[in-house]
Symmetry: C2
Subunit: 438 residues, 2 copies
């Protein structure tokens, strides 16, 4: 079986760092493999002075955990390479996750220390999920965080994801999904539409104009194919000549023009005036040229009807990963014994807090979030209705699946419940503090 047919089988089992399996083998021998264990995913800080993080990827984690199965091809390869020995291979052959996973639902916001995912099971079954869970959450949440800043900056104007060409081809699909959760209206990526049901959009590039003998020929061809409601790209040669030609060819019913270079604020004003003078008052202006949340904010007063964002979206606008870690916080000393908190405590900064944590978002009198409260003891009564985690997997059964639109709606609500300064673009502290009690 080659790699393609293994991916065919949908296995995520080798999306794993080798040390997970060597730890597993050593723990199977020492007996520690069977100790009940709690791993938590959290981040020590938000990247780049951001005010909040955005949880994304949870739905993909649920798929990856279900597909975490070792087939013959993988087991044979692990054996051939001497990664692990026969007793461990037998464990892997039978592996499926039978524990519990709780976590922040997708679209929710999070802060430093928030236990965004908690994985409970035997050490053996939980430790080997580390890499694939972190891969998914670290990328998807990084994209969602950037996307949320962009949709906030855009106000009510639609933002379209068009970054596929600037990211690994499968990462791009995940990026489109994360952006949609954080409020993007659509994506250019057909696979994201096919796999996740996200609306797709797209009309034409400069190559389409250049392959024709003239811009007029190209516009006529596009309108013949897609109708007058299409978006014509008007910056291949001379912008204002193109706008004039576009309206001549399509009439005032022209759907939109797209500007992909130059000083967008200036050009948007000029093109708007020109379109209005030509009677195309309803024709929209779409801008797409290395936009990020700052550029979008700067265009707030310009007559722009929509934004297309590529590079900065799929690279997390300067922060393409979000430093989530997967840490053992408690374990029993026997398979069914009581949980004992554990934590790394070396000098050098990377310490953790032991114990399985709950989290609640405490609102003030107006219902605005005022603190992320985290604890390891009993939950105070007044916080019981504000707990953040939901069940995702119980005794190996997935219970937390939901449509992407539910995550999208949740993000709108979660962001709206933060203090107003949450959507400030300038660098600063998290918009609410994380309080650790008991």
């Amino acid at each position: 079986m080659d790699a393609t047919s293994v991916r065919a089988a949908g296995s995520t089992a080798l999306l794993t760092d080798r040390y997970e399996l060597t730890m597993l083998q050593a723990a199977l021998r020492s007996g520690a493999a069977h100790r009940r264990s709690v791993f938590e995913v959290f981040t020590r800080r938000l990247p780049g002075g951001r005010r909040y993080g955005v949880m994304a990827g949870t739905g993909r984690v649920l798929d990856a955990v279900e597909d975490f199965r070792f087939g013959t091809a993988q087991l044979d390869w692990l054996s051939d390479q001497g990664v692990v020995e026969d007793d461990t291979l037998r464990f892997l052959a039978d592996y499926r996750f039978r524990g519990d996973i709780h976590g922040y639902p997708e679209g929710e916001v999070y802060f430093p220390g928030s236990p965004v995912l908690t994985v409970e099971g035997s050490f053996a079954e939980a430790v080997i999920l580390e890499t694939v869970i972190l891969s998914i959450l670290n990328y998807d949440s990084a994209i969602a965080a950037a996307a949320s800043r962009m949709t906030a900056a855009a106000g009510g104007r639609p933002v379209i994801e068009m970054g596929a060409r600037r990211a690994h081809e499968q990462a791009a699909v995940a990026a489109a999904r994360a952006a949609y959760i954080a409020g993007f209206a659509a994506t250019s990526d057909l696979e994201a539409g096919f796999t996740h049901g996200i609306p797709t959009t797209g009309t034409s590039a400069h190559a389409f104009t250049l392959v024709h003998n003239s811009e007029r020929d190209a516009f006529q061809a596009q309108i013949a194919s897609m109708g007058k409601g299409t978006t014509l790209l008007v910056d291949t040669f001379d912008l204002h000549e193109a706008v004039r030609t576009a309206v001549e060819v399509a009439g005032p019913e022209l759907g939109a023009v797209r500007i992909d270079s130059g000083d967008l604020t200036l050009l948007a004003h000029r093109v708007r005036r020109q379109l209005d003078e030509l009677g195309a008052e309803q024709t929209r202006i779409i801008v797409t040229s290395d936009l990020d949340e700052y550029a979008i904010a700067a265009l707030a007063a310009a007559p722009v009807d929509g934004y297309g964002v590529g590079t900065s979206l799929v690279t997390g606008s300067g922060h393409p990963t979000c430093a989530m870690v997967y840490k053992l916080v408690a374990r029993a000393e026997t398979p069914d014994g009581p949980l004992v908190p554990v934590a790394k405590r070396a000098a050098g900064g990377k310490t953790s807090i032991g114990g399985r944590k709950w989290a609640a978002r405490r609102p003030d009198a107006e219902g605005v979030a005022e603190a992320e409260v985290i604890g390891t003891g009993p939950v105070p009564d007044e916080l019981r209705s504000h707990l953040m985690q939901v069940p995702l997997v119980l005794a190996g059964e997935t219970v937390g699946r939901e449509p992407l639109t539910a995550a999208r709606d949740r993000h709108v609500r979660a962001r709206a419940a933060l203090p107003l300064s949450a959507t400030q673009l300038s660098k600063g502290d998290p918009v609410i503090p994380t309080e650790l009690i008991d």
Copy 2:
């Protein structure tokens, strides 16, 4: 057929921006679809003051072009969504690329304007490959460029890729591949070993120590499983106590210790002295804590035997994409007519140079590269033996496949043939200029 079974079939056809297909449809109607066309992949600048770029992903592009086929599931979805109409669906059903692709081979270095990939065929068959080709080259080359700086900074010391958890799970596999091309010794990512045959490595994490009742128990368990040649992680509690315990448990045959936090220069010196005093002179020291090329360079004088690099590798050390574009540079006005150069020429900066280009790297008298020479006319005789492009696909047949080790060897040679200042880490201009002739 659901998305999983489509990926099973190995189709890359929907890793495509919607506008490629709407352009295709309009061009089929206008007749321009059948015009012979040349698209070039190049970059206008190197990111972040880097001195050279590193070509990576070519082998994956060859796979993706072969797998660019539309199956029933994809065609039905495109039809249901109204992306394109029946005539276009018929074209896509029969699609396979039958043109030519030439390009810089993997591991080669490149500069602004280098035509790193040239795709020739009908407009229709070439335009729709844009997105997937750029996705692959933009990510893989970004990672390879960062990786090359890290291996240069490490001198002869091995550098291990361990960034899977900080990138999209499939991007991580491509990152391990790109890093290997640029000289990394191994990866932690099992899927990268399985799919691409890259050496894998890994031993244990802090969780392994914490799940046991004591550090000593953990070390004993690891050695019982993996032998004394293993690498013990010594910074869970007290570093020097851990080193002492490690040597007590393993004896002087202990393979290595790993330090994952703290002031690595200081700690490496202390741990080296301690190991030597304990008689473990052969025990190596591996460091892994948010390293990048600058941190590696700063550790050059420290007694370190190997580096593990995660986040900064898989995120391109600040530049997770490399701004490659796919531009129509020439096309015929009839299917078999002569090629006519074309180029965007709007104000605003993003202009291109028309015409199909060759490229050569001109050496000086000592054989050191002195310029990247690019032209659209005849190749000067003295440059004929220095041409950069190689055939990759001819009349739809892949001819450019090679083992990954060939790309890895090529990178060593290509980097060594650059002026010495190429591996300077400080920001600056490309190490050789790009000259455009005729």
